[in-house]
């Protein structure tokens, strides 16, 4: 599904829901990373263990929702089929301006809607 469009004035609009969900994933992943570092030095801390369990579960849920709606965040979670193609390489990469909805590389925007597979 194409999530990027131009309004009547030709201004490029982006899917704010997608950006907002990725923001949330980045925040939760940071919380998981930070708690991981703390637990590495305090492996039996009850509060940290409980906090880790909560944010990790929220991260897994948000990641699942994102990948179901928009595409893979990891090559190992790519669930592409012959309709979508291997979205791991047809969708934009995170260093592009406007990621994840748009890209400063036009060829990646064209690929937001994957083409039907060719002979192979």
């Amino acid at each position: 599904m194409r999530r990027r469009y131009a309004d009547a004035q030709g201004t490029l609009k982006t899917d704010t829901a997608r950006r907002a969900l990725l923001d949330r994933i980045q925040q939760l992943a940071f919380a998981v990373t930070e708690t991981t570092l703390y637990l590495d030095g305090h492996p039996y801390n009850r509060r940290a263990l409980a906090y880790y369990g909560r944010v990790k579960r929220e991260l897994d849920e948000a990641t699942g929702e994102y990948e179901l709606n928009y595409g893979p965040l990891s090559g190992m979670s790519e669930g592409g089929d012959e309709r979508t193609g291997w979205r791991w390489v047809t969708q934009a990469w995170p260093w592009a301006l406007g990621y994840p909805e748009t890209s400063d590389r036009p060829e990646w925007n064209e690929n937001l809607t994957p083409a039907a597979p060719e002979d192979n």
Binding site: A29, S74, G75, W86, W88, V89, T90, Q91, A92, W93, W95, R105, P106, E107, W108, N111
Partner: protein, 209 residues
């Protein structure tokens, strides 16, 4: 970003420590064609690469090279486990030992510390991919040479696995080269750099337009 998984890509269990082997295998960590240079080269080349398929190959090969760094580190750890100072001297491992004990330090077999000079990033699609194809062959030759010098099957099997991966990576970079060339102007592949000049091809010499 990256996530670490607590497993080796291929199992390593060395029953007979051998510091001589460690002193030559270390080149595949920090030597001119080692795994550290490989991962750094590919992961850094990605930013200027304009084609999604090629970025995917650079990302996934570069990530696998990080796992190969870990395998080389594991080989070095197990090959130098429990050595006495006498064994260190007998094997000629003393020159490494005096600076790094049995720690894993990225250097070549001749003791030259790892340097970013081993990492080719030109910011040009064909130059970078050609670099990568050569790098995989050079790494394969280094594994060939290690296998000429090493008898222990516990050490040879992981090295043979790593050698085979260099060949597969060479083939995948061949795919990357095909993807890149398919998008270039057939009249002259070298007329422009799609990583810098954008998607349009001019037949003029760069700098003269």
């Amino acid at each position: 970003m990256w996530i670490y998984e607590k497993k080796l890509q291929y199992p390593i269990n060395i029953r007979r420590p051998n510091p001589l082997y460690a002193s030559i295998i270390v080149s595949q960590l920090g030597g001119p064609d080692g795994e550290m240079g490989a991962s750094t080269r590919y992961l850094n080349q990605r930013f200027s690469m304009p084609y999604g398929e090629v970025i995917g190959i650079l990302t996934d090969v570069g990530t696998e090279e990080l796992a190969h760094m870990e395998m080389i580190g594991t080989l070095l750890y197990q090959l130098t486990k429990g050595l006495t100072p006498e064994q260190v001297k007998e094997a000629g491992f003393d020159k490494y030992f005096v600076d790094h004990t049995t720690g894993v330090y990225p250097a070549s077999a001749a003791g030259v510390p790892f340097t970013a000079a081993y990492v080719g990033v030109k910011g040009d699609v064909l130059a970078d991919l050609t670099e990568d194809l050569a790098a995989e062959q050079k790494a394969r030759v280094t594994y060939d040479n290690l296998l000429r010098l090493i008898d222990d099957p516990d050490v040879r099997e992981p090295l043979k696995f790593l050698r085979a991966r260099e060949i597969v990576h060479f083939q995948r970079f061949g795919d990357a080269m095909r993807v890149a060339q398919d998008r270039l102007n057939s009249r002259n592949f070298y007329a422009f750099n799609p990583a810098y000049d954008g998607g349009s091809c001019s037949t003029e010499t760069p700098g003269e337009r």
